[in-house]
């Protein structure tokens, strides 16, 4: 079975597992909705500035992503993972997890956007730019968090470790994303937007490359 066929099968498995154990995905959805509602309730004067809207959006996304991804290595126990590694290429396992997490986070970010628009009000004016920011953001978050979750799942108290290890690494991505999204709200004029996209793509590629190089040393126990 070649590499891509393996990835296809693993992706199908992830999806089937996700749908079968419905509580994981519905838990995340409820998490997003309740956080957005808390934001709405806490800012009782309304979120008027686009800057604040964008910042809140990405902070909600950040924590929702951590919660969504931390389970990607936790929900399956060690023995079953060992079974995958024996049966399939370990790289196919991590690549399929990354692809799955990118699509999950992208879906989640669209949902957060919809929830924010419904409850708090929509501030985005340039839809294509914001969609691009959402995609690059989900890619960056999921690559980084998948890799760090792979490290922290080896330790006992792994959700704390995930936050400690990944938050410093996520700051540059988050700062660029906020800048890009503020441009998409039409608050700022386009000042070197292509440079920011370039930075994000470069960070994503570097993270993905490193994950592929380093994962073979990680999975063995």
């Amino acid at each position: 079975m070649n590499f891509f066929a393996q990835i296809g099968i693993l992706l199908r498995k992830e999806l089937v597992l996700e749908l079968r154990m419905g509580y994981a995905i519905s838990g995340i959805l409820l998490y997003v909705l309740s956080t957005v509602f808390i934001v709405y309730a806490a800012f009782f004067q309304g979120v008027n500035s686009p800057m604040l809207w964008v910042t809140l959006f990405w902070i909600i996304m950040l924590f929702a992503s951590v919660n969504a991804i931390v389970k990607s290595f936790v929900q399956e126990n060690g023995a079953r993972q060992l079974y995958y590694y024996g049966l399939l290429d370990p790289l196919a396992v991590i690549v399929s997890k990354m692809i799955y997490n990118i699509s999950l986070l992208f879906f989640l970010s669209l949902l957060t956007w919809a929830a924010m628009a419904f409850i708090v009000g929509n501030k985005v004016e340039e839809f294509s730019a914001f969609l691009l920011a959402l995609f690059l953001g989900s890619a960056g978050f999921s690559i980084l968090f998948t890799f760090v979750a792979a490290i922290s799942s080896k330790a006992d108290n792994n959700s704390t470790l995930l936050a400690i290890l990944s938050f410093p690494l996520v700051i540059p991505i988050l700062m660029t994303l906020i800048k890009l999204s503020v441009v998409a709200t039409g608050m700022l004029e386009d000042t070197g937007i292509s440079k920011d996209i370039g930075i994000l793509v470069a960070i994503d590629l570097v993270l993905a490359g490193l994950t592929l190089v380093l994962y073979p040393f990680l999975w063995r126990d």
């Binding site: 890799f147 490290i151 922290s152 080896k154 330790a155 006992d156 108290n157 470790l161 400690i164 290890l165 938050f167 410093p168 690494l169 700051i171 540059p172 700062m175 440079k195 930075i199 470069a202 960070i203 570097v206 490193l210 380093l214 040393f217 990680l218 126990d221």
Partner: protein, 351 residues
């Protein structure tokens, strides 16, 4: 190599030299202040010049001064009155018209003394005239010519506005970062070696190099913050370079936390080696790519010129380059001590 002592002696000698030379060599004489800054054509003016590190009274009768406009048009001071080493009064008799086709112009002030050398205050003084007469102005200003200037004292550091005496931090702040980068680079090298050979010794070396590198990074940040206080106005101004530095230090702190999370030695060594490579790959864009692409106050970033040219003259190079070598050697010395401590602790645990 670790047990040999010649390179440690070399480090001490170089650092003593750089600290002594860096702290004792004076700044080049400069102009701290000139009043008034706005002059009216057709009047006789008295400029009070306050010098920095200057010796006006030593060169009393050989002092010369010019006001210089664009295109090498100069006006020599009619009379110079020296009050003391740091203060003198220049008397200029400004002609009725300026050699300029507008009512306002700016000029620079040039001082020359056999002791202090030639000092220029660029574009610091405004000139105004009531009516424009270009031809007459050119004639009036062509009386004086620029004369041969004196070379200043040889062994000095540049006198630069904003920086002033804090220019000496160049021998601490920058070499500390050099040393940190070298230490982290070697630690990555040992991480790669660990993943190839699974030799616990390589892991201990990585840990020691990272410990030393982290301390040097902290010192680099602190010296940078002190420098920022005197040049940018605050210890921490949320500049992108400072933010990314903080992020880089957080990433390396997470390395030490990660090591604490594992009981099993082999697992600890393997996972921290993987994370260390990842951290170094994140460090380079954080410190050297992102700050260059956004607005920053730091030299070499956000379109600012890097240190060099007039900021880094040959006297400074004579101190700056050895300082880089000296601090790097000291960093490796610290790392080698940390490594031996780690080894000894391991031996105690095994016994």
């Amino acid at each position: 190599m670790i047990r040999q002592s010649w390179w440690k002696i070399l480090a001490v000698v170089i650092l003593v030299y750089t600290i002594l030379a860096g702290m004792l060599i004076p700044l080049k004489p400069g102009i701290a202040e000139v009043t008034p800054r706005a002059l009216q054509a057709g009047t006789e003016v008295e400029l009070t010049v306050t010098g920095y590190n200057s010796y006006y009274s030593k060169a009393k009768n050989e002092l010369r001064a010019w006001l210089k406009l664009k295109g090498d048009v100069v006006l020599k001071a009619a009379r110079i009155e020296v009050l003391n080493d740091r203060t003198m009064k220049l008397h200029f008799i400004l002609p009725q018209y300026l050699p300029s086709d507008s009512k306002d112009d700016a000029c620079s002030l040039i001082l020359d003394s056999p002791i202090d050398g030639a000092i220029v205050l660029p574009e610091g003084i405004a000139l105004t005239q009531d009516s424009v007469n270009l031809l007459e102005g050119k004639k009036l200003w062509s009386v004086d010519k620029m004369e041969e200037l004196n070379a200043g004292p040889k062994l000095t550091f540049p006198y630069r506005s904003v920086l002033y005496e804090s220019i000496r931090n160049q021998y601490f702040h920058v070499p500390l970062w050099f040393a940190m980068i070298f230490l982290f680079l070697f630690s990555v090298n040992f991480s790669i070696r660990y993943l190839r050979t699974y030799d616990p010794d390589a892991d201990q070396r990585t840990l020691a190099l990272n410990r030393a590198g982290f301390v040097f990074g902290l010192l680099g940040t602190v010296t940078g913050a002190i420098w920022a206080k005197y040049t940018w106005g605050a210890f921490w101004s949320w500049d992108v370079k400072q933010n990314m530095t903080a992020v880089a230090l957080l990433i390396y702190s997470a390395y030490f936390i990660l090591r604490g999370a594992f009981q099993d030695e082999e697992k600890k060594a393997r996972l921290s080696a993987v994370y260390n490579i990842f951290a170094f790959a994140a460090l380079i864009p954080l410190l050297f790519v992102i700050p260059r692409m956004t607005d920053s106050l730091h030299p070499g970033n956000g379109g600012n010129p890097a240190f060099g040219g007039e900021d880094l003259d040959n006297t400074m190079r004579m101190v700056f380059y050895p300082a880089g070598i000296g601090w790097t050697l000291l960093g490796f010395w610290v790392a080698s001590v940390a490594y031996r401590v780690e080894k000894l602790q391991q031996r105690l645990l095994d016994a």
